[in-house]
């Protein structure tokens, strides 16, 4: 069975390798500081105890006040997986160091995250929109991409038909 690392375990290992790299710890993930992200991730890859040579997954999450970039690191030899995160507060020009230098497999996922979230990955060799065309207005996976009239946001807050209030009319977005 794969060993799923908890946030604390990963944080402890990362602190041992690169002191001062951890910013926050959650139950499932360890949140690193952006400034030494590349350093700690490459240390985690090369360290024989962690050996996270395979970047399983990379994606972004829009948490309204911040963007998270989620990395699922995997070791094929040790059969273990851990979740690392990095947070960006800046919504105008979000920027995260790129990990393409550590894992080549990151470039396509970073491009996709840039395309859909607008997070710039510093050091990415060829950062451009891959799914949408150049000049597409906005970044679709941001939560404020389709702000509806009346300040409503996309996503269900309640199940259809259970609301006491009448549903607001949906008009095309300007």
């Amino acid at each position: 069975m794969t060993r799923w690392w908890s946030g604390e375990e990963l944080a402890a290992e990362a602190e041992r390798l690169v002191p001062g790299s951890v910013s926050k710890i959650s139950a499932t993930a360890c949140i690193f500081k952006a400034e030494n992200l590349v350093q700690v991730l490459s240390a985690l890859r090369d360290n024989p105890a962690t050996n996270f040579a395979h970047l399983s997954n990379l994606c972004g999450v829009d948490q309204w006040d911040r963007f998270e970039v989620v990395y699922h690191l995997q070791s094929l030899e040790m059969n273990q997986i851990a979740c690392a995160k990095v947070e960006v507060q800046d919504r105008e020009e979000p920027s995260v160091p790129s990990v393409v230098s550590i894992w080549q497999g990151a470039w396509i996922q970073e491009s996709e995250t840039y395309d859909l979230f607008g997070i710039r990955f510093e050091g990415h060799p060829n950062l451009q929109r891959i799914l949408l065309w150049d000049g597409y207005p906005g970044y679709p996976l941001r939560k404020d991409f389709l702000s509806m009239p009346g300040g409503l946001q996309p996503g269900l807050n309640e199940f259809a038909g259970t609301s006491a209030k009448p549903e607001p009319p949906v008009r095309p977005v300007e």
Partner: protein, 369 residues
Amino acid sequence: MSEIVQSEPFVMNIGPQHPSTHGVFRVKATVDGEQVVDAEMVIGYLHRSMEKLAEERTYTQNIPFTDRTDYLSSMSNNLGYCLAVEKLAGIDVPPRGQAIRVIMAELQRLASHCMGAGAFANDTGAWQTPIMWFMREREKILDIFELTSGARLTCNYMRIGGVAFEIPEDFEEQVRALIGPMRETIADGEGLLSGNEIFLVRARNVAVIPPELAINASLSGPMLRGSGIAWDIRKADPYCGYEQYDFEIPIGYQGDAYDRFIVRLEEMRQSLRIIEQALDGLPGGPHSTEVPLSLRPPAGEAYARIESPRGELGYYLVSDEGPSPYRFHIRPPSLINLSVLKEMTVGGSIADAIVALGSIDIVVGEIDR
């Protein structure tokens, strides 16, 4: 003297409409004569923004979307998504549901590999014959899917907590009737291609991926196993009770297109073994747990992955206790396997590039989502 006779590199578009791109996928290949000197992929022709759409629908409503990502293996996609939601909400699946899921996922792997191996043979120029043989078997599998779920391609069969319906009465009989002919067809395809001198020179030592690169580039599935890396999530991180079944991981020798092809064929044999074992030990009981229709998983995140026919298919879900996922991310194996496209194609000829692309076994619906 070579500067007297020289050729100018020019850009050749392979795709979006091309017989060998398996969908609307485009490779901008810079070629010098017949040699590819640069290759760049252009994707997004089939982008439907599923990750955004999923944020506005309930967890159950999202299952049909997953059908339409990798339309050649909808059962696997259903399964991956349902596993992620179950992990997020802490739902257990009864043993019968798990066994049915395993049978369905393995049948889907067979169907998908039939298409993948056949299309690869087509790309090497074995004009239609292997793919037709494999398609004949695939049709039988799709018939079983139709019998069970009512649909052939977009099955929408898995549900959170189990499967949608009980399997029909003659299901087991039909699946058992399929196994023998399928074995024969695999052996036929192997006899037609694996020892064929032309096929060998076309596929061997073409698009070689060394194991270091395969791991570093996050490859998965037959791409990873072809390079000689023993990695199969069904073994490494068993889900749906895969640990009960006896099967082996096929791995290649040097990571070329030929290795990926023979790995796919062997995987089909192993899938047949799993199906036989699952049918033999099909437990009774309910096929799924009762899950409230208005499912509101606790806040948190979950990443679940399965071994889909194309590799590691992951679903990353974030919940904010709402009725719909706060974030819905698919880790598409086809897209990430494409990250070595340049390494595979540059330096070879156009014909090799086609073989390389065919050996990835891409599905554009999954790449673009």
